[in-house]
């Protein structure tokens, strides 16, 4: 206890020991994330200001890539296509997932709920690459959908369902409906059933209960599902590449085109930066509910 002489109380010494120990434990994960996530991301940010000239990397920083982005209509269109696809996917996934999650949470006997939920999201675990490809078989002119519609007499010619933006959206919606069902179900199942009774007791009708009690309370689930959907969908290459038929290319396709066809990493980096900006915008849009959900 001679430390009191130097002004370091044992209390403070203990606090410092604790801080050092905590930091040491968090260090491996933090360093890993720093080295293999933050540094690469910063490298992307830096490279986006470089320029690929033939085989040469021009390391004089400049805005050339960003200028090119706005000058070449292919890139700007890619941005719009990405936004369009992702927003459609997010909206449809939530719209399809909510009723399903709601039915499972409110209309299925509690002991079967997890079973039905699991059944509903099991194909989530299909190989991601193969799942998109399987939709090609479903959407083909002689695939299930067209054959069913034909035999029912709704159409006389097979519809062209695949290799377009609609197919991309469908493939995405299929995947993300399952994801959103999970997040929405988890917030629905956490609702106190007494709230419904209380609202009904206060004279609210079924619709009013849903609109003024259930929906606001499940917004965190919707927001986290929608945000996840947005982040993953906006950055995905596989589904549009397989189902989109190179029509209406989205940003990830353009990014990979820069990487695998032209070795133009600076341009790919600039496009990646724009992709990240979209995610930041989506986060800000959903932050209200995301943070509330976490608290």
């Amino acid at each position: 206890m001679t430390d009191t002489v130097t002004g370091v109380t044992p209390e403070r010494k203990a606090a410092r020991r604790q801080a050092v120990r905590g930091l040491a434990l968090a260090a491996p994960a933090a360093l890993w994330t720093f080295a293999f996530f933050l540094l690469p991301t910063l490298a992307i940010a830096l490279w986006s200001f470089f320029r690929q000239q033939g085989r040469e990397l021009v390391t004089v920083p400049g805005l050339d890539n960003y200028r090119r982005f706005f000058e070449q209509s292919a890139f700007v269109k890619g941005l719009w296509n990405s936004l369009e696809v992702t927003l459609l996917v997010t909206v449809f996934s939530v719209l399809l997932a909510y009723p399903l999650a709601w039915v499972i949470a409110t209309r299925i006997a509690p002991r079967f709920q997890r079973l039905v939920l699991m059944l509903a999201v099991l194909p989530f675990w299909t190989s991601y690459v193969v799942r998109s490809y399987a939709w090609l078989l479903v959407l083909a002119p002689n695939g299930v959908i067209n054959q069913t519609l034909l035999s029912l007499g709704f159409i006389s010619e097979p519809l062209k369902l695949s290799f377009n933006q609609g197919a991309t959206v469908l493939g995405f919606v299929h995947f993300f409906t399952m994801l959103c069902t999970l997040t929405i179900y988890s917030s629905l199942s956490r609702l106190d059933p007494k709230l419904h009774l209380a609202a009904a007791d206060l004279g609210a009708g079924a619709f009013a209960i849903f609109w003024r009690v259930t929906l606001p309370l499940t917004m965190p689930g919707i927001a986290s599902g929608a945000f996840l959907t947005f982040v993953v969908a906006v950055g995905d290459y596989v589904t549009p590449q397989i189902l989109g038929g190179n029509n209406q290319l989205v940003l990830p396709q353009l990014i990979l085109m820069q990487v695998i066809r032209r070795a133009d990493i600076p341009m790919a980096s600039a496009l990646s930066m724009i992709l990240m900006l979209l995610v930041v915008a989506a986060y800000l849009a959903a932050a209200r509910w995301l943070t509330r959900g976490r608290a």
Partner: protein
């Protein structure tokens, strides 16, 4: 001071940022005492217990156990063991696993652990429960398991953090007796935190009353109850009516106090002319016209108009108000219950009046 007692605190303080949780607490108790730290929430009693257990370190002062300075020792290295509020039983271990935990981290031999665990379970009346999962035990059983788990490591001082708070009244009474019994058998120092003064009086050898981080009073339950040292402990240790007054005469061990209720004679020491407060406990106030000890035995408190009477089984709680507006409470015999609005005369047992200096 520390030499005489087996547990002693010397000017212990704990400061969290701007807040002073414990402010210069000193006390010392001999080995084998059952100490109860009593106080309202936020009084610092739990912080004192944490500093005894090593979960918090004092900002100043010294804690000694058996003469050894343990102020800055971590929990694992102090001769203390704690029965936590809500028990903190390990849900992934069985009852025996929980009780034996402290022994097994000390790397005792398996057979030794087994026999000690069996003895501990026996002590708390849970023989044969060793293989149960924690989830399959009741609240009262958990309390006993927690106790056994703490006792089995043979701590110099056993710390109990509101151990009975989660139990219903009957079980609480039963456990109070159990705790007392076990403490006597084991002859260990128990430090027990509670905010329930009845519980404190039921089990304590020494009650330490805390308020706002300081000790208000310390002593045997009878003394603390009958002759509280401060206004706070007088009210906290049980219902009382406080009567402001001034000392008019002081003769040896008795004083005469002039109060809104007239002149009161009571035991105590105070200088003539000093402002004092007289505390009266309801059980020491009865109707003036009944009672075996006759009209002459008590100090008359004057007339009150009855506001309310509540039947409580063995007695009736009476609340009345004097003409001057002072509220008085009394416990009266259920044989005659006045009606609301009736005017009755009250008297008090003079030996039981409590003199508090301001």
């Amino acid at each position: 001071m520390s030499a005489t007692g087996d547990l002693s605190l010397d000017s212990v303080s704990k400061v969290y940022g701007e807040t002073v949780a414990v402010d210069g607490v000193s006390f010392s108790v001999p080995r084998g005492s059952y100490v109860v730290l009593l106080g309202p929430s936020g009084s610092g009693k739990t912080t004192v217990l944490s500093m005894l257990g090593g979960f918090a370190f004092p900002s100043a002062g010294t804690v000694r156990i058996n003469g050894q300075d343990v102020t800055h020792l971590p929990p694992a290295r102090r001769p203390t063991a704690t029965v936590f509020q809500d028990y903190a039983l390990f849900p992934h271990l069985t009852v025996a696993g929980n009780v034996g935990f402290g022994l097994s981290v000390r790397r005792l031999a398996r057979a030794e652990i087994r026999s000690k665990v069996l003895a501990a379970l026996d002590l708390v009346g849970l023989s044969g429960f060793g293989d149960r999962a924690i989830a399959a035990t009741s609240g009262g059983q958990r309390q006993r398991i927690a106790l056994a788990r703490a006792m089995v490591v043979e701590p110099e001082v056993l710390l109990l953090d509101e151990p009975l708070g989660a139990l219903d009244l009957n079980l609480r009474r039963q456990m109070q007796e159990e705790l007392r019994r076990i403490q006597r058998v084991e002859e260990r120092t128990f430090v027990h935190v509670t905010h329930d003064q009845e519980e404190a009086m039921a089990i304590a050898d020494v009650i330490v009353i805390m308020n706002r981080g300081r000790i208000e009073d310390i002593g045997a339950p009878e003394r603390v109850y009958a002759a509280p040292r401060t206004r706070f402990s007088a009210t906290f240790m049980g219902e009382s009516t406080l009567i402001e007054g001034r000392v008019t005469a002081s003769t040896g061990a008795r004083v005469q106090v002039e109060s809104p209720l007239g002149l009161l004679e009571l035991p105590g020491k105070a200088a003539a002319g000093a402002k004092v407060t007289v505390a009266v406990r309801p059980e020491n106030v009865t109707l003036a016209d009944v009672g075996a000890d006759g009209a002459g035995g008590g100090v008359p408190l004057g007339e009150v108009s009855v506001e309310d009477c509540i039947f409580q089984g063995s007695f009736v709680r009476l609340a009345g108000r004097t003409a001057a507006g002072l509220g008085l409470k009394a416990r009266i015999d259920p044989s005659r219950v006045p009606a609301a609005g009736e005017r009755v005369a009250l008297r008090a047992d003079p030996a039981r009046l409590i003199l508090l200096e301001d």
